[in-house]
Amino acid sequence: MVIEKREKNNVVIFDIEGEIRRSDITDVTLHQLVKDELELGRKQILLNFEKVDFIDSFGVGEILASYISTHNLGGKLKLARISKKLFLIFQVTMLTKVLDIFDEEDLALRSFLKE
């Protein structure tokens, strides 16, 4: 898994590439990266899954942990361009009720601006 960070309109965007799975744990996890940004006071975070091939429950756990951390600090964490399979998992687990999920990055960024 490779995670690139960029910033746009005061939103920290993490472009995630490859597979997010328990067996590929790296020194720095997605949750850790999000927490680092939160510690720096950046509370608007967008996770871009366009290049993610696979995500397992560990990966979902990372997303949820990141969401909770952001939410607890009064921030916003949103998701963009998730695969259909991940969307189904989120639907079945009702996470679509909690998470903000967008088809396109621009739509997600505009939603930050509205808030």
């Binding site: 397992d56 429950s57 979902v60 756990g61 949820l64 942990a65 969401y67 909770i68 259909k84 399979k85 969307f87 189904l88 998992i89 639907q91 079945v92 687990t93 009702m94 996470l95 679509t96 009720k97 909690v98 088809d103």
Partner: protein, 825 residues
């Protein structure tokens, strides 16, 4: 014709119902008027043969009855060509004429001995033809229950006729110069029988849908083949194991009867030789005495005995009595020959054997044997009776004659010497006589064996006559239909426009159950414009393909996500908001209630399900109950049981509780026993216990029934029946069930419809063969005379005498009264 009324005491004694009197009286008269002349003819036959030819030549007379086969063959042919009316009347007319011919031949002073032999054969043909036709008519007119009830009355007519004929012979033979003049009297009686039969069959034509049993049409117009001869009749018997067993019984009975007849006639001839009796007069009186005994048995015992003990025991009485008497006869003949009283003892043996043979043969045995034909379909019955009663019965006598000839050969009795010598005194008992007694006992043992087999076969045949297999509709639905999946698909369809999340949850649920087939996918795929983009779950985007979305890996992944602590924390907060009414409304509650069912029982969110079970919305409760049924946490049971009282939620609560299975029988038992809970809860709890269907659940229900059950008696009995239907292997405590049966019978008022006795039948089904009991009930529901008759007959073979005596009087009222027996023809 106006209905005749019998005196009340007669109608009561013979259990004749209103509407049956005319037919019963005519049949009584018919039987009387054919047996009276027969007894005259027979007494003359026996005396003439013993005097003119001699007892040691009797085996040839017995063997000669093979000629009856020709008469049977002729009768079978006539039966297919003539109407029953023509056949009955024609036979009687021919009998009258034959009487007159033999009167002319035998009254000559020095008549040819061959006429005596021919007269013997004709007498045999006459009795077979007349009695068989009488019983075929009875079988045509009555169902088994009616026949069993009325057979005592008809049989009495026959026995009284025989007694009258015998007495007439006994007295008149002494007065008349030539006893053969009695043949004129028998001719007159047969003319009277002719007139009675004319009344019986006058103007009768089959009603629509009924066999043309009696009347102007040939018998069985639908099924009767163009030609049914003797061999057709024989083939019909050969093809049925049941009829073969009847044939075997008739064959052995005939052989035994012949052996006993010879033993007794030999002794009588020996006694007569010493005392120079008028043999015709002796046979007349003896036959009357035997028949009086038979009549008393028939009057007092037959119907009651058969009704109480059934046909199977009825069949056994005759051979068992003869076995004991034959044993006694052999021993007595062996020892008494040396004593001074040997002559008296020998005559006593003769009269005892013949008297028992006659009395039992004409009463219990005859009645039981005729009833055996009742479960046979009419077409087959006619053929079988022709072969068995008219041919085989006679042939068995011939076979008895051949057995006797063999016994003579083995014991060294020379017929040449016998013809030349006068009879030995009665004190000299020959080895042939003792050997005949021993051989008779061997055949009686064989006869008893056939009777055992026949009794079992009878029950099977009656069972075939009643309704087909009974199955409870609710049990069929629960066993053959996947109701849960059907409901899930309907829920999924409804949720399409309600909530994409709920829709996805339903689809996932279907996929987990492996029910998301291409057909179901096609059904669930919404029209393109109906839902907003993104609302169609990926699982449906390629209908017909088992894509990766349904793989076991994905299922596993979803389960793991649901178990994540972060997930539980996040969704717990969400659930709290929903339950506090901070958004989402009932739809959000439904989604959560459904989703919780996908989680582990121990997860924090699962613990909140109870709050959803208390929700006032039936829709929310529906999904919460489904989840409770999956998680099976006992903490949810009280909330589910209480919801049974709500008609809108009862089905969901019940379905959920059924999933718990036997683990909650104890809890349900507490609710059932708690009279403070209303019938709205206790009734469904009883039904629920039936759904669980274990022996423990049955015990709880029976216990509650024994405590009185409050106002739930019918529900609890229905529940017990469901358990029995689904689990035939469960043993219900017989004493307890029979005690409840007694209560139910006591509480049963006048029975107007079969449904009134349904609770009784359900209880019966717990301790007797469930299928038999409900076949019988189905036949009662059908409500025709025959169906009710067959139903009671089947129960008669199944239930204990005490229960029968309490139940049957109530069932008798279910037979339609509008259709009197006469109208059946």
């Amino acid at each position: 014709m106006a209905e005749r009324r019998l005196p009340k005491f007669l109608a009561a004694a013979f259990k004749i119902k209103p509407g049956e009197a005319r037919l019963a009286l005519l049949l009584f008269a018919y039987f009387f008027l054919i047996t009276a002349p027969y007894n005259i003819i027979k007494s003359l036959r026996d005396a003439s043969y013993l005097e003119d030819i001699g007892p040691d030549f009797l085996p040839f007379a017995y063997a000669s009855v093979i000629v009856v086969g020709l008469a049977v063959s002729l009768q079978a042919r006539l039966q297919t060509r003539l109407s029953r009316r023509a056949l009955l009347l024609g036979t009687l007319a021919v009998s009258v004429m034959a009487n007159l011919v033999f009167w002319g031949l035998l009254r000559a002073d020095h008549h040819w001995k061959g006429w005596v032999f021919l007269y013997w054969m004709w007498a045999n043909v006459l009795v077979v033809a007349l009695t068989t036709q009488f019983w075929i008519l009875v079988n045509d007119l009555f169902n088994p229950r009616e026949a069993k009830r009325l057979i005592g009355f008809f049989g009495s007519g026959g026995i009284l006729g025989g007694v009258a004929g015998g007495l007439l012979t006994g007295f008149a033979a002494g007065w008349l110069k030539d006893a053969h003049d009695l043949l004129l009297v028998s001719a007159v009686l047969l003319v009277a029988a002719f007139l009675v039969v004319r009344r019986l069959v006058a103007g009768r034509r089959p009603a629509a849908g009924e066999d043309a049993a009696v009347g102007d049409e040939p018998a069985s117009p639908h099924a009767a083949p163009a030609k049914v001869g003797f061999w057709d009749c024989a083939r019909s018997v050969r093809q049925s194991r049941y009829l073969l067993l009847i044939a075997a019984v008739v064959l052995t009975t005939g052989i035994v009867s012949t052996l006993i007849d010879w033993q007794s006639k030999k002794l009588i001839a020996q006694a007569s030789e010493s005392a120079a009796w008028n043999l015709t007069s002796f046979f007349g009186f003896a036959n009357s005495a035997f028949l009086v005994l038979a009549f008393l048995l028939q009057l007092v015992l037959t119907s009651r005995f058969i009704e109480r003990f059934g046909i199977r025991i009825g069949l056994m009485i005759y051979p068992l009595a003869l076995l004991l008497l034959s044993l006694g006869a052999v021993l007595m003949q062996g020892f008494a020959a040396e004593t001074l009283t040997a002559g008296t003892a020998g005559l006593g043996v003769a009269i005892g054997l013949k008297g028992s043979d006659k009395a039992l043969s004409y009463s219990i045995s005859q009645s039981a044997r005729e009833l055996l034909y009742i479960p046979v379909v009419p077409e087959l019955k006619y053929r079988a009776k022709i072969f068995i009663d008219m041919f085989l019965n006679r042939f068995s006598k011939a076979l008895g004659g051949l057995v006797l000839i063999l016994v003579f050969a083995f014991t060294g009795l020379s017929l040449t010497k016998a013809a030349a010598a006068s009879l030995t005194p009665i004190t000299e008992i020959s080895p042939a006589q003792i050997a005949a007694g021993i051989v008779a006992m061997a055949f009686i043992a064989l006869w008893i064996g056939f009777n055992v087999l026949l009794g079992r076969a009878y029950v099977r045949e009656v069972r075939l006559q009643v309704a087909k297999k009974w199955e409870r509709p609710d049990v069929i639905v629960s066993e053959r239909m996947d109701v849960e999946t059907a409901k899930l698909i309907v829920d999924a369809l409804e949720s399409r426009s309600q909530s994409p999340t709920l829709f996805a949850l339903h689809l996932y649920d279907l996929a987990r159950r492996k029910k998301l087939t291409p057909e179901v996918k096609s059904l669930l795929l919404p029209p393109p414009v109906e839902l907003p983009p993104g609302a169609v779950p990926a699982v449906l985007e390629s209908p017909g393909a088992d894509d990766a979305a349904l793989s076991p890996e994905m299922d596993q992944e979803i389960r793991e996500v649901l178990a994540l602590p972060s997930y539980q924390k996040l969704m717990g907060e969400y659930a709290e908001g929903v339950l506090e009414g901070r958004g989402g409304g009932d739809t959000a509650k439904m989604e959560l209630a459904k989703a919780i069912g996908l989680m582990d029982r121990g997860s924090p969110l699962a613990g909140r399900l109870e709050e959803f079970l208390e929700d006032a919305s039936p829709e929310v409760f529906q999904f919460a109950a489904q989840s409770a049924g999956r998680l099976k946490d006992r903490a949810f049971v009280p909330a589910l049981v209480r919801r049974l009282a709500d008609p809108l939620s009862r089905g969901d609560a019940r379905a959920a509780l059924e999933k718990y299975g036997e683990s909650i029988v104890g809890t349900l038992s507490d609710f059932l026993a708690d009279r403070s809970e209303g019938p709205g809860v206790r009734g469904p709890v009883a039904s629920l216990l039936a759904g669980i269907g274990t022996a423990e659940a049955a015990e709880v229900l029976l216990d509650e029934l024994s405590r009185g059950a409050g106002d739930l008696g019918a529900e609890i009995i229905d529940s017990l029946d469901r358990i029995r239907s689904r689990n035939p292997a469960i043993d219900f405590p017989e004493d307890s069930v029979k005690a409840r049966l007694g209560d139910a019978l006591d509480a049963l008022g006048p029975v107007r419809a079969a449904a009134d006795v349904l609770p009784v039948f359900r209880l019966l089904g717990l301790v007797y063969d469930h299928e038999d009991v409900f076949r019988a009930y189905q036949s009662l529901l059908k409500g025709t005379r025959d169906s009710v008759g067959y139903a009671v007959e089947l129960l008669d073979q199944t239930l204990d005498p005490d229960l029968k005596s309490r139940l049957f009087p109530k069932l008798e009222s279910l037979a339609p009264r509008g259709a009197a027996p006469e109208s059946r023809t």
